[in-house]
Amino acid sequence: MTLRAFLANRRAMAGAAILVVFALLATLAPFLAPYSPTNINFPPMLGPSSAHLLGTTANGQDVLSQLIWGSRDTLLVGLLTATIISGIQLAVGIFGGYVGGWVDEVLSMLTNIFLVMPGLPLMIIVAAYVTVKGTVPIIFVITITGWAWGARVLRSQTLTLRSQAFVEAAQLSGESRWRIVLTHIVPNMAGILVANFFGAALYAVLSEAGLEFLGLGNVNTVTWGTMLYWAENDEALLMGLWQWMVLPGLCIALLGTAFGLLNFAVDEVVNPRLRRT
């Protein structure tokens, strides 16, 4: 029923289609990319030609190959971070909401604290303190600044569900706490969980791009964010290498839009109040 509504939702399908294209690009990168993305033996700063469809960078790398390979780490960081964030949200939100009492008070307070922490400045400062540059610190800083909002949403949803008749019935029939949470509460929040996941993925992809653009990631890896970093450092636009600057950003925007569309569509499907009346 819900799945059918989802499949009939044009926005959901558009988002899924973009995501599938990028996923294919990432998996098939070795077959699709004409060259190695780190090969620096080409003449630098070439415009588009038949040998280099999107030209080369100032360091003599093939832009098309970088763009294709870049989808890998960008997508990986986005999905992995979103998974970790969703896990924390699920644990904090549901646990606090269901157990209640002082545990809930403490977890809510913690959520509220992280909710008002300014994300990007904190990310930049943590990334500046971390001396090892790379993917792991980036995932770490995005996670600690990104989990709070969803946790709050899940908590209030848990509170609503907890007082529903079917949950009370399960309690009265002597089902254990964990069983109630896993079989009654989580399935009823599946829609919100999925919507939150895509929301977190959007947040992660944009944050990753911002951090890498500032050079706070590992600038030697090939992602769309680091491509933008190098393009900006080597003044790609002033050199007339517009494709080097425009395309990675466009890819990030498209991937972000895909996550945004999916987030929006899932919300629309599971929230009857948003449906067309």
């Binding site: 300014p118 400062i125 971390v130 001396t131 959007l202 911002g210 933008l228 839009t257 919300d267 109040r273």
Partner: protein
């Protein structure tokens, strides 16, 4: 617990947490990066300033962590943030005070424009939801809010700054021609237009989505149906009934955004070399200027906290239900 007391408690606790994070971060990191910084500035700073820094960042001090923590709190409460290493001998406080008005002016005004514009469009889209207008506005708003905004900034900087030459390509005002009065204001506005456009365009999408969804949900409510049924003018139902009720969550978001104004448009400021707090923080990070970083982060966090607190207070005035909850 009464609503107000709860809010004050959250404010105090979050304030404490922000200050403590600021204290813990430099001490938590492996290989204490502050040592690297101190080594770099050996001989360039006075011995007294160096000694103060070692305490501030917990580098080979013989004091216990607790003493350091107390000293740190003393410094923060008296507004003594130390000296900036990059802009030595300027103090960190001076640097922050200098940059703050730029950020407040640029980001504050553009956030306000984005909110008004986005919310207005959101109302229009919700009122006609399911229509072609709504069908176009939604994906466009999603794209705008999913776009890396620094990338958008780079593109419009290139097109309107370099290619067309309509606007200056960076900075806050033209120092070469120091002019006062209206002409001086003119150069400030000139420099602000591109960054302001970036912030407004990329932020408006989010407001459209928030307002649209809230309002679509409200439109299904019985009181709206009733208002229609009793024959009120469409305009009255749209604005006075639906939009008025739907704007509350947007308003909370706006209050948050006002708090984030202080540190929110970091990347835009960096792209345009705009002399605000974001750019200052970036320079501090590049130069490993930890005292400056600490102070800016503290300032940004406190701004968010205070804005949030004020939003909570305003909520009491706006939403009678909140007032009712606190009472027996």
């Amino acid at each position: 617990m009464p609503y107000l007391m709860r809010r004050v408690l959250v404010l105090l606790l979050t304030g404490w947490a922000a200050l403590t994070i600021n204290f813990v971060l430099p001490r938590l990191m492996p290989g204490n990066p502050a040592e690297v910084m101190l080594a770099r500035f050996q001989g360039r700073l006075s011995p007294r300033a160096l000694a103060a820094l070692t305490v501030e960042f917990g580098v080979h001090t013989h004091q216990s962590l607790l003493t350091q923590y107390v000293v740190y709190w003393g410094h923060m409460l008296t507004g003594n943030f130390g000296l900036s290493l990059t802009y030595y001998p300027a103090s960190v406080g001076q640097m922050v005070a200098q940059a703050f008005p730029w950020t407040l002016g640029l980001v504050g005004i553009s956030t306000l424009i984005a909110f008004v514009l986005g919310t207005g469009i959101g109302i229009a889209a919700a009122w006609r939801h399911g229509s072609r207008l709504d069908g176009v506005l939604l994906p466009v708003s999603l794209l705008l809010s999913a776009m890396p905004y620094f990338w958008f900034a780079l593109l419009i900087l290139y097109v309107f700054g370099f290619v067309l030459g309509w606007f200056p390509v960076g900075g806050g005002l033209n120092l070469a021609h120091r002019v006062g009065g209206f002409a001086g204001l003119g150069t400030v506005v000139d420099h602000a237009i591109l960054p302001a456009a970036t912030i407004t365009i990329t932020a408006a999408g989010g407001w459209v989505l928030t307002m649209r969804n809230n309002m679509v949900a409200i439109l299904g409510a019985d009181f709206v149906k009733f208002a229609r049924a009793k024959g009120l003018a469409d305009r009255t139902v749209e604005i006075r009934y639906a939009a008025r009720n739907a704007i509350l969550p947007s308003f909370t978001g706006f209050a948050m955004a006002i708090g984030f104004v202080v540190g929110g448009a970091l990347l835009t400021e960096i792209v345009f070399s705009y002399p605000g707090l974001g750019y200052l923080l970036y320079e501090a990070v590049l130069n490993l200027d930890y005292p400056l970083m600490q102070a800016i982060f503290l300032f940004i966090s406190l701004a968010v906290l205070v804005a949030n607190f004020l939003a909570d207070l305003a909520y009491i005035l706006l939403d009678p239900r909140v007032r009712a909850v606190g009472r027996p």
